[in-house]
């Protein structure tokens, strides 16, 4: 934007030293929100017990996976029901590289490498598999792409069941636990005189990964590449007329999405230590699609909110034993209630607020702002987080 500035023109911030522009107010409020979140995480970290860490850590991992799907479906508009497959690829890569060496010939393989190797490798291998599948799958559009990625889940399930040297076959296998030196994360350890529980150690690993991924994704989406992604979503032909290479843009989104999904899969399997191949099924994929629709498509915060709703809420309900556990004889369990809720919410949000929870929040904000002052702004609700303050700063600096 510096291109548009006359030389010598003072920055917008300094000309409006007293009166804040809406863009600045917005930035200020987002700093406040960030501050509150940091304080809340610190408070949570000190106060919470490991049962709460189980809920929060699993939700954060789900948020990472939802973010990954959002890159592909929310920002780039490519339907994928194969998300569970890429998470599984990541998980099994981690298992193969980081798992214990087999003590008997029937045990699944493992090379016992440290997590600093298997965690990135999980993402890289998932992205490589994405690169293998992408050229075929991305030739197709809309519904067809959805069905091919659905086929991926079934083909993957068949492979995972039969490749028992890596996956342990249908009984499943254990997954590696990250460790620093001799301190493994599955038990409490002392670091510099501070005793940390297993949940706290995992929290300190998972949260930075999620924050890093979120910052990366939101920066990418504000770049030329991200604009190309959204152009492809909004109008393929239009995008290609504007000089966007459709294949490159779709492939880029697909690779980034599978990379993050792989990391999320590895973290999930590691944190839960034991996973069977049946876990990576179509329901899991659908849950992530539900998460980004409920939270907000094309929004980093939406991924987090959606994951909290779809994956966190049932665990909270279970934690307080508000509903009986599933018995198989009918009756409402927490899982059932949650499934009913998210089924209904998918429909309601798509009908009334395609921007999801984030769109809903944005709508209230706009409503409040309209009442308070003069500067109401329109725009696509799905794009709330994408309207970077730069545009507005530019308008107000003139």
């Amino acid at each position: 934007m510096s291109v548009f500035k006359k030389p010598g023109t003072p920055l917008a911030e300094s000309t409006h030293a007293v009166k804040r522009t809406p863009g600045q107010t917005r930035r200020l409020s987002s700093w406040i929100i960030a501050g509150i979140l940091v304080l809340a995480s610190i408070l949570f970290f000190i106060v919470a017990g490991d049962d709460w860490f189980a809920i929060v850590n699993n939700t954060l991992i789900a948020a990472l996976a939802a973010l990954a799907l959002n890159v592909l479906s929310g920002y780039t508009g490519q339907i994928s029901l194969g998300h569970a497959f890429f998470m599984a690829i990541g998980a099994y890569t981690a298992a193969l590289l980081g798992g214990m060496s087999p003590s008997s010939p029937l045990d699944p393989q493992g090379f016992a490498l440290p997590w600093i190797i298997w965690l990135p490798a999980a993402g890289i291998v998932a992205a490589l598999v994405g690169a293998l599948v992408g050229p075929t799958a991305l030739r197709l559009k809309g519904f067809y792409l959805g069905i091919v990625t659905l086929a991926l889940v079934f083909i993957g399930h068949y492979i995972f069941l039969n490749l028992s040297a890596v996956t342990g076959g249908s009984p499943g296998r254990t997954f590696p636990v990250p460790a620093i030196g001799t301190n493994t994360f599955d038990q409490q350890n002392t670091y510099f005189g501070v005793l940390l529980t297993s949940g706290q150690q995992y929290f300190l690993l998972i949260l930075p990964v999620l924050v890093l991924a979120s910052v990366f994704v939101s920066n990418v989406m504000r770049s030329r590449t991200g604009r190309a992604f959204r152009a492809v979503r909004d109008h393929e032909v239009g995008a290609s007329m504007m000089g966007v290479n459709l294949f490159e843009a779709k492939m880029g989104a697909f690779l980034l999405s599978s990379f993050l999904a792989g990391i999320a899969g590895a973290l999930f399997a590691s944190y839960n230590s034991y996973v069977i191949p049946d876990y990576w099924d179509l329901t899991l994929s659908v849950q992530f699609v539900a998460a980004i629709i409920i939270g907000g498509a094309a929004s980093v915060w939406g991924s987090l909110l959606g994951a909290a709703f779809v994956f966190g809420l049932p665990q909270v309900i279970d934690h307080f034993s508000l509903l009986p556990p599933p018995s198989g004889n009918g009756g409402l369990s927490s899982g059932d209630l949650n499934t009913l809720l998210y089924g209904a919410l998918i429909i309601l949000f798509l009908l009334f607020e395609p921007g999801g929870m984030v769109g809903l929040i944005g709508r209230f904000q706009r409503l409040g702002r309209k009442k308070a002052s003069f500067n109401a702004e329109g725009g696509d609700p799905a794009e709330i987080t994408d309207l970077s303050s730069d545009n507005h700063r530019f308008i107000h600096s003139e």
Binding site: G77, L140, I147, F154, N329, G330, G331, D336, A344, I346
Partner: protein
């Protein structure tokens, strides 16, 4: 040889069930362009109501079947009327997800009401009855499935060919705006398609339940195999759906019958992914299916 004939017969019977499910899909897609992911759970709800009608409420089979069809048709009509009608013109992804939402609600409702334990399948004849001919067992369920599928296809053919509404439906499929312009009540056509699809789903569900002797909540996932079937046949082709369904059923049964003898290297459950492999192959060569119409994109 008898083994092969047996597999072929069972495959055609299984394929007929997939054909029934696929028919529902392509009826809805053809008239309104909506991919109905909830078809599998409509089938599940239908099958459960029929079973509950026979075993819990002690209705005669045909009455229970009628009840099942009425309820699923009502669900289909209601969903179309209350929700889908407001989604016209929205992206494919959104419409697909709305039907997934319905799918989730129906499946969970079934689990909440009837539990996830298997229930016996309701059947007007002994589930194991049938006769042998030259070493090939013709199960009465399979014969009924094939028979009903043929009759339904003939009825549908007649409906599209000779009735006003059939003609109106074909016109709507061809060009919505033009159909509207010549005074075709498009909304009624959508409702009709949903009603027909839901009714056919119940029939498919009952046969599917009988062929596996019991009903469990996972029954609906069999409808996922209708996706390869309709893609094989071409999304917008009703006869293609039937042919696609039968091909998928045959491929599934014959692979299942021979995989342990000839391809044990492939491991267990290879037949389960056979339909998807065929589908991917077809998508690579003819993305519009064997009978579908090639789509021309205009700017």
């Amino acid at each position: 040889m008898a083994y092969f004939l047996q597999l072929t017969f069972a495959g055609i019977a299984l394929g007929s069930i997939y054909a029934l499910i696929s028919l529902g899909f392509s009826l809805i897609f053809k008239s309104s362009g909506v991919i109905n992911f909830a078809q599998g759970e409509l089938l599940l709800v239908g099958a459960y109501i029929v079973a509950a009608g026979v075993f819990e409420w002690h209705l005669p089979f045909l009455l229970a079947l009628l009840l099942g069809i009425v309820v699923t048709v009502l669900i289909g009509l209601l969903f179309e009327r209350v929700i889908l009608r407001h989604m016209i013109g929205r992206p494919t992804f959104s419409i697909l997800m709305v039907t997934i939402g319905l799918d989730t609600i129906l499946l969970t409702s079934v689990i909440v009401i009837w539990g996830s334990q298997p229930l016996p399948a309701a059947s007007p004849f002994g589930v194991t009855s049938g006769f042998n001919l030259d070493g090939v067992h013709f199960a009465s369920n399979d014969l009924w499935t094939i028979g009903i599928t043929i009759v339904l296809c003939a009825l549908l053919f007649g409906f599209f060919r000779f009735t006003r509404y059939g003609l109106a439906m074909r016109a709507t499929a061809l060009d919505q705006e033009a159909a509207l312009a010549v005074g075709i009540p498009i909304r009624r056509i959508y409702a009709l398609a949903w009603g027909m699809a839901a009714g056919i789903a119940t029939l498919g569900g009952v046969f599917l339940a009988i062929s596996s002797f019991v009903i469990t909540p996972t029954l609906g996932s069999a409808a996922l195999l209708a996706f390869p079937a309709i893609i094989l046949g071409g999304l917008d082709s009703v006869s293609g759906a039937v042919v696609g369904g039968i091909i998928i059923g045959l491929a599934l049964d014959i692979t299942a019958g021979y995989e342990s003898a000839f391809a044990s290297v492939l491991g267990a459950g290879f037949h389960d992914i056979m339909p998807y492999l065929i589908m991917i192959l077809v998508l690579l060569i003819r993305p519009y299916g064997l009978f579908g119409s090639r789509k021309v994109e205009r700017l």
